[in-house]
């Protein structure tokens, strides 16, 4: 799969996969499916059927706090292989198996030289715009409720 690729090429694909994953994990299943419907999907099979599991989330209070087990969260994962050999992995919080499968499919397509343009333009880019918009709106809503506290020096006289 790799082998002949140069190191720079590999890290480029790696970075692209990371960026795509950051967007896909924060997008709704219906949105991913909706955008995927716009492009012709390549032949693929489920290498690993979507499945649910638990992972332990570790937490820390403050920057220098001691790590502790915060609790377990559900995760779904899947692996999809395209007929051309690219294998994509999808992990997402929650029990949405279809989402894990769609993420895995997108991840596989991001690795394919032929499909990467289509998936970046038609799926990842619009989802990224929507995600940033959502984040900005949330930030604006939060900022509107901001209260500034002042410490008054009390005159003890």
């Amino acid at each position: 799969m790799a082998g002949n690729e140069s190191l720079a090429d590999q890290s480029g694909t790696q970075a692209r996969r990371k960026a795509a994953m950051a967007v896909l994990a924060h997008s709704a299943t219906a949105d991913i499916a909706g955008h995927l419907a716009d492009i012709a999907l390549p032949a693929h099979e489920d290498l690993r059927e979507p499945e649910n599991g638990l992972v332990m989330v570790r937490g820390r209070i403050g920057g220098d706090g001691v790590p502790f087990n915060l609790g377990e969260v559900t995760v779904s994962r899947a692996a999809v292989r395209l007929s051309t050999g690219e294998v994509g992995f999808g992990y997402t919080l929650g029990r949405d198996r279809e989402k894990a499968r769609l993420i895995a499919l997108c991840d596989a397509m991001v690795q394919s030289d032929k499909l990467v343009a289509a998936i970046e333009d038609k799926v990842v880019a619009p989802l990224r715009v929507a995600m940033i918009e959502r984040q900005n709106r949330k930030a604006a809503e939060t900022a509107a409720t901001r209260v500034d506290f002042y410490t008054l020096v009390r005159d003890e006289g």
Partner: protein
Amino acid sequence: MTTIAEMPAGFSDKVLSAQSTFRSVMDAMARPGSIQRIVAAGAPLGMMPGAAAIALTLFDHDTPIWLDSKMSAGPDVGKWLKFHTSAPVVADSSMASFALIGDPQSLPALERFAFGSNEYPDRSTTLILQVESLSDGPVVELQGPGIDGTAGLHASLQPRDLFERLSINAALFPRGIDVVLVHDDSIVAIPRTTRLVKKG
């Protein structure tokens, strides 16, 4: 070397296939000597479909696996098991919950596997033997719980002295070794309570 891109897929329908395989193994254990069929799954090179389906159904991260020299000859089987079952492959056969035997001729002495303890007889190694045939070969007559009278098994058994070796089960009880014979998509179970009556 097989890359992940060439690795055979697991069950196409995880839940139903695993349930039906579990049922087949349970029936085989309940009726020693009877041949049960298994829905085939994708299998790596060197592994029969029946053995692969059993692996996908019964192996998980809590069941250490021991592979014989034929199974561990190439990286295929180990990688496939790790990807699909996440079961740890161990070098010490006495630690294993399951042992996959690709070449039963050179089956190591049974003492090298786990017999369980009197308190926990279930902590024994279950041997999964890939044999040449389960339909023709000399008749072996079996007796024990789950068998009405005697049951005949036509199989080309390897190793030839399998039942002689398994006779230690009588003295060890409740400890002991359970065996599953696999050929293609057929399986026959020889639980630790089954005894050899006559060999043809």
